[in-house]
């Protein structure tokens, strides 16, 4: 079997391979900083029991669903009291409840969102807290 124009094809393939794998080569050996959301705000430090409204594992995995539900409860059903799995009550509000404690949006929300390249549009309307860190 004869490969016609083999030189060109193989050079082309090598260039193509290099272009496609370029991002991997570029980042080889570089440690990709793991996102580490911080919770050391003055408000959280003041808490007697440093606990979010639900267990950490749940919040980490499902906070977006919880926020979505909260939005419907507050805006559409007019229900503004959330009773958690331990029967504790919280006002349903992103700005006044979540961000009251997590007053470090850049180090808390953005940390993972930037890493995962997700851009939730919460903040085009909801006012982000003034950045605080202790």
């Amino acid at each position: 079997m004869k490969l016609y124009g083999g030189g060109k094809i193989i050079t082309g393939l090598i260039i193509f391979f290099f272009l496609v794998t370029f991002p991997f080569f570029l980042n080889i050996g570089k440690v990709n900083a793991k996102p580490e959301p911080k919770i050391d705000t003055p408000e959280i430090q003041k808490l007697a029991e440093k606990k979010c409204i639900e267990p950490k594992a749940f919040m980490r995995a499902e906070h977006m669903k919880l926020l979505n539900d909260w939005r419907d409860f507050a805006v559409r059903n007019g229900q503004r009291l959330y009773v958690n799995s331990e029967e504790k009550q919280f006002t349903i509000s992103l700005q006044n409840t979540c961000m009251h404690c997590h007053s470090n949006k850049k180090k808390f929300c953005d940390e993972c969102h930037n890493y995962m390249a997700v851009k939730p549009y919460c903040w085009s309307c909801h006012i982000a807290p003034k950045e605080k860190e202790s």
């Binding site: 559409r76 007019g78 229900q79 009291l81 009773v83 958690n84 799995s85 700005q95 309307c125 807290p129």
Partner: protein
Amino acid sequence: MSMNRRQFLKIAGASTLLGLGGASALNALRGGELEASHVLTDEKALNAKRWAMVIDVSKFRTEEDYKRLTKACHSIHNVPDFGNPKDEIKWIWTDTYEHTFPSQPNEYIEEGIKNKPFVLLCNHCANPPCVRVCPTKATFKRKDGIVMMDQHRCIGCRFCMAACPFGARSFNYKDPRLALKKEEENREYPTRTIGVVEKCTFCFERLAKGLVPACVEASREAAKAAGGEPGMYFGDLDDPASEVRKILSTRYTIRRKPELGTDPSVFYVIGGEKNA
């Protein structure tokens, strides 16, 4: 392996059932994590079958009487002021008699009424055309009669603006944050974003906390300071003992464009003394 039609259908049916059952079992397991959590309405919250407002225009005399309401409302709801009518966002505003009650024209009407500004806001109609035309249900009617806006769902089509016969809706042609000063923002309430429609919500967020709407509170406070009656009343139209029903049963009130059949919930007492 050979298979006849009957066998094939049996196997296909069984695997479909299994698939459906498996999915629902999986969902049940996933959702079961937070079974104990639920939501409640605050006990302090004000409730009604149909919220309504009565505006006694005779109580509005000076420029300050109107400004007070607009300021109270627009400052707590982060309503921007772009300073030009094209980009104007208004939740509560004023207009002339002729524009407010166009179906009751009267060439020879009393001078005092002719030139008087009338306080206007969303009428929270019982039969709201804006709700009917909204393609995403971003605007909807709550159980307590409030015509509510869900900014998360608004796609900015402006059908509601075309449908509303009272001009109660404003469109964000620009990012409202351009005209809001950082230090004047109410950090407890969101702003809006470019490309959504907004309007008065009868202060649903204040009702949930047991407070009356901001404009009503402002006019009550002003009346208290001046030692008179307030210009705005708020209450349940369905409750014969409510503040609004008491006024409606003793004074002559009119509504804007009732002939359109939207059944507005904002009533106006035009001039005159108490005749009860």
